[in-house]
C-alpha cells in the first residue's frame, strides 16, 4: 500500500494551509480518533471513526474533511 493509498483510506483529511492548530477537533471527537499533532492534528485511531462529522462541523477553519463512509470503505 502506497502512502497515498493509506491517506485516502483515512476517514478524515486535514488541510494544512488552513488548520490553525486549535485542537478543537481533537477535543471533541467522540471516538478518540484524533490526537494533537505538530502542525495539524494526527489521526491516532482511524478505524474508530464513526463519520459523525463533528470534527468537521466544529472546526473553525474548515480544515477537516470527513470522507463519506462509502468512499472510505472502497
Amino acid at each position: 500500500m502506497t502512502a497515498r493509498d493509506e491517506q485516502e483510506k483515512m476517514p478524515v483529511r486535514f488541510d494544512e494551509r488552513w488548520c490553525k492548530g486549535c485542537n478543537i477537533c481533537v477535543a471533541y471527537c467522540p471516538k478518540g480518533v484524533l490526537a494533537k499533532g505538530t502542525r495539524v492534528p494526527s489521526i491516532a485511531n482511524p478505524t474508530a471513526c464513526s463519520r459523525c462529522k463533528l470534527c468537521e462541523i466544529l472546526c473553525p477553519d474548515y480544515a477537516v474533511t470527513v470522507s463519506d463512509e462509502k468512499e472510505g470503505k472502497q
Binding site: 490553525k20 462541523i57 466544529l58 473553525p60 474548515y62
Partner: protein, 275 residues
C-alpha cells in the same frame, strides 16, 4: 463540509483572519450549511455586516456581500430588502456591532418585521478592537475597559428582539453547531424578521482576560451552561442565571414589511384606477 465550503465560500481568501480557535469560523460554517439546507439561489442572496471580527465573515462568502460601517448593517440591509424584496438578505453581526452601536437599527428592523435573517455572533466582547466589554459581557467579568470587573448588566438579546417585534427568535452556540444551523435554516425560511443569537468564543481576548482557558475550555463552558428551552421552562429565574437557553424561543406569523409595502401600493393603485 468541504463541498459546501467550495460551493459557498471564497476559498481563495482563506485561511481567514480569525485567530486559532475563534468560534466565528464555526458559526459561519453553520450559516452556510443552513443556506445549503434551505437551497437558496446563490445569486439571490445578499450578506450584510457591520464592523468587527464577526463582520468580516461576508468577505469569505460567495454572494453579493456588503461590509458596512460599525453597527449599521441592519439599516443598509433594510434598504436592500425593501428595494429588491426578492433577495434573501442575511445580516451577520457581532454583539458589539448589533447590540452596542447598532441597537437602534436592531429594534427597528424587528419592529418592522422586515424579512431579514440576522445572526449575531455573540462572543461577549469587542474582539476586533482587542477586548473591551460589550453589552453582552456578563457583569463582573474582565475586559480592557473593565479592569476592575464590568459593572454593566448585559442584555437578554433574544428577549429584546422579541419585545421589539421580531417574529422568529432562536439561540444556540458554536458548540451546538448542528442545532445552530438548523435554527438558522428555520430563520431563513421564516417570512419576517428572524433573529438567531449564536453564542461563540473569543479565546484571544475574552477567554484570556477571564482566565476561562483556550477555545476548547470555552466550548465546554457553553456545553455546560446550555439548556434547551423546554427544560428551561421548568426552571426559575434564579436557576436560569448564567444559563444559555437554546432552541427556538419565539415564533409568530405576521405580515412581512416589504410585502406590506406591496399590498399598500396595490391598494393605492386600485383606488386610482377605480376613480
Amino acid at each position: 463540509m468541504s463541498d459546501l465550503v467550495k460551493k459557498y465560500l471564497r476559498t481563495e481568501k482563506m485561511p481567514h483572519i480569525w485567530c486559532p480557535g475563534c468560534g466565528h469560523g464555526t458559526v459561519l460554517g453553520a450559516v452556510i450549511r443552513a443556506i445549503d439546507a434551505v437551497g437558496l439561489d446563490k445569486n439571490k442572496v445578499c450578506i450584510v455586516s457591520g464592523i468587527g471580527c464577526a463582520s468580516r465573515a461576508p468577505g469569505y462568502m460567495d454572494f453579493d456581500t456588503l461590509h458596512t460601517t460599525h453597527g449599521r448593517a441592519l439599516a443598509f440591509a433594510t434598504g436592500i430588502k425593501l428595494a429588491k424584496p426578492e433577495l434573501n438578505v442575511i445580516v451577520l453581526t457581532g454583539d458589539g456591532d448589533l447590540a452596542a452601536i447598532g441597537g437602534n437599527h436592531f429594534i427597528h428592523a424587528a419592529r418592522r418585521n422586515i424579512g431579514i435573517t440576522t445572526i449575531c455572533f455573540n462572543n461577549s466582547i469587542y474582539g476586533m478592537t482587542s477586548g473591551q466589554f460589550s453589552p453582552m459581557t456578563p457583569k463582573g467579568h474582565l475586559a480592557t475597559t473593565a479592569p476592575y470587573g464590568n459593572i454593566d448588566r448585559d442584555f437578554d438579546l433574544c428577549d429584546l428582539a422579541r419585545a421589539a417585534g421580531a417574529t422568529y427568535v432562536a439561540r444556540s452556540t458554536a458548540f451546538h453547531a448542528r442545532q445552530l444551523s438548523d435554527l438558522i435554516a428555520k430563520g431563513m425560511r421564516h417570512d419576517g424578521f428572524a433573529f438567531i443569537e449564536a453564542v461563540t468564543q473569543c479565546p484571544t481576548y475574552y477567554g484570556r482576560k477571564n482566565k476561562i482557558g483556550d477555545a476548547i475550555a470555552m466550548l465546554n463552558w457553553m456545553k455546560e451552561r446550555a439548556i434547551p428551552v423546554k427544560a428551561a421552562e421548568r426552571l426559575s429565574r434564579e436557576e436560569l442565571k448564567n444559563r444559555i437557553t437554546t432552541g427556538e424561543l419565539y415564533r409568530v406569523e405576521e405580515p412581512e414589511y416589504s410585502k406590506e409595502y406591496d399590498r399598500m401600493v396595490a391598494e393605492v393603485m386600485a383606488k386610482e384606477e377605480s376613480r
